[in-house]
Symmetry: C2
Subunit: 254 residues, 2 copies
């Protein structure tokens, strides 16, 4: 439970790091997550009674949280970071279906089916709460009100899927990339406005359904046009106005 030093952290790379027992009563993002609709008393009485604990974990980028078809008996809430849900095509090529951010849930399909629908992989350093299915089921049985929050999470996923189709899978590569950047800029609660941390080329390509090279060319072009400025370690400073302008104006002279 004591924080590991740097050497230890390195050794743990690609292994889950247990952070601590979750204290849902003190949860900083409680408003956004699964139990937001329960009163403090409800929560108290339930959390005291359960036998499977809700634990927090941290994972470095690239860690697989669960596999498509896997049967771990848990759903997850993201406390921090970014997680990609992927599927694999016939050739084994990875396709990013959804990108989840702080406050989103994943693995809820285990409440209904007997395995996960996607493979979940950490994109950044990620902190999650692992919620055993038994807890979910128990809560659902005792406090039907919780279902409303669950529905809201389903609906949010669906909404993102729709946006994905409209914004990230339509039009020219240029527009897709720009829309993705805008999405990332919106999602990331970076300290300062005007900065985004982009994904790897491969990841962006696999989100947008285009090639790595095409993405790279667009980014290079945006840099040349001073819409983006590279700050190091995939962090960029961006000109929001120019970005929005490009997103709407389809054609643009060099």
């Amino acid at each position: 439970m004591s924080p590991p030093n740097k050497a230890t952290a390195k050794a743990l790379c690609n292994h889950p790091e247990w952070i601590g027992r979750a204290d849902c009563r003190q949860c900083g993002i409680l408003q956004q997550v699964l139990f937001s609709d329960l009163s403090e008393d409800d929560l108290e009485s339930i959390l005291d009674g359960i036998f499977e604990p809700i634990d927090q974990y941290g994972y470095p980028p690239g860690t697989v949280l669960y596999h498509q078809g896997g049967q771990d008996n848990a759903a997850f809430t993201i406390r921090d970071g970014l997680v990609k849900l992927v599927r694999y095509g016939p050739d084994g090529d990875e396709r990013i279906i959804r990108l989840l951010k702080r406050g989103d849930s994943m693995g809820l399909e285990r409440l209904l089916g007997d395995s996960y629908e996607h493979t979940a992989i950490a994109v950044r350093n990620v902190k999650v709460c692992r919620i055993p299915l038994t807890v979910m089921q128990r809560l659902n049985a005792d406090k039907p009100r919780l279902y409303r929050t669950l529905m809201e999470h389903w609906s949010a996923c669906l909404f993102q899927a729709d946006d994905h189709i409209m914004l990230l899978l339509s039009g020219t590569v240029r527009n897709r990339v720009i829309n993705l950047i805008r999405w990332l800029a919106k999602v990331e609660a970076t300290e300062e406005k005007g900065k985004v941390e982009l994904l790897s080329g491969k990841e962006m390509a696999s989100m947008l359904g285009v090639t790595i090279e095409s993405v790279s060319r667009v980014i290079a072009d945006l840099k040349r046009k001073k819409v983006l400025r590279y700050l190091g370690s995939s962090l960029y400073e961006y000109d929001a106005n120019a970005l929005n302008a490009y997103a709407t104006a389809e054609r643009k002279a060099s």
Copy 2:
């Protein structure tokens, strides 16, 4: 309530046609729809107590069932036909986000938000049950079990959205069209196997994110290769084996 003659039907074009009060106890597709998890007694007692009725309606192709942003206080279950959920891009171009079939629900987002997320338009002749929100809410409050079915509907939508991304918005136009045809063939409970009723070119194009011309060329080619045979009024006979073969084999000599 008596069936209208042809002239009347014509006059009703683009207007809802009331079919009758729904008798949920006798519903032929009960297993698939929203109330499938309730016992007969539950259903009985609830349906007797409600003051807003569940009505059935029929609509001809092209009818708008509800508008994006609209606030009608109802959700719908599709008893027969095909409904497209669309959104409009900045240029007013229509994009099909989802295609709903018999047993699917639409408008469930009204349980959570204050307006519809899409515009719903009948693609074929459609029969729906209109379920007032008050009924849904009342049922949810009385019979929390119903929530499970609701979750299953959300999850099914999400699943379709994911498939949409993987199968209909990835790869060559050729593959997209073929995957769409296979989806339609699977969904349509046509009397005889081996026949599909395709959508209009515009509709297929707007589902697949490609141009009408491209779709037309692929279909023409499939006809030339005897994979499809036109039977009239957008009904086709298809060679399932050839279709599956083409779907996997990416490149094909002429």
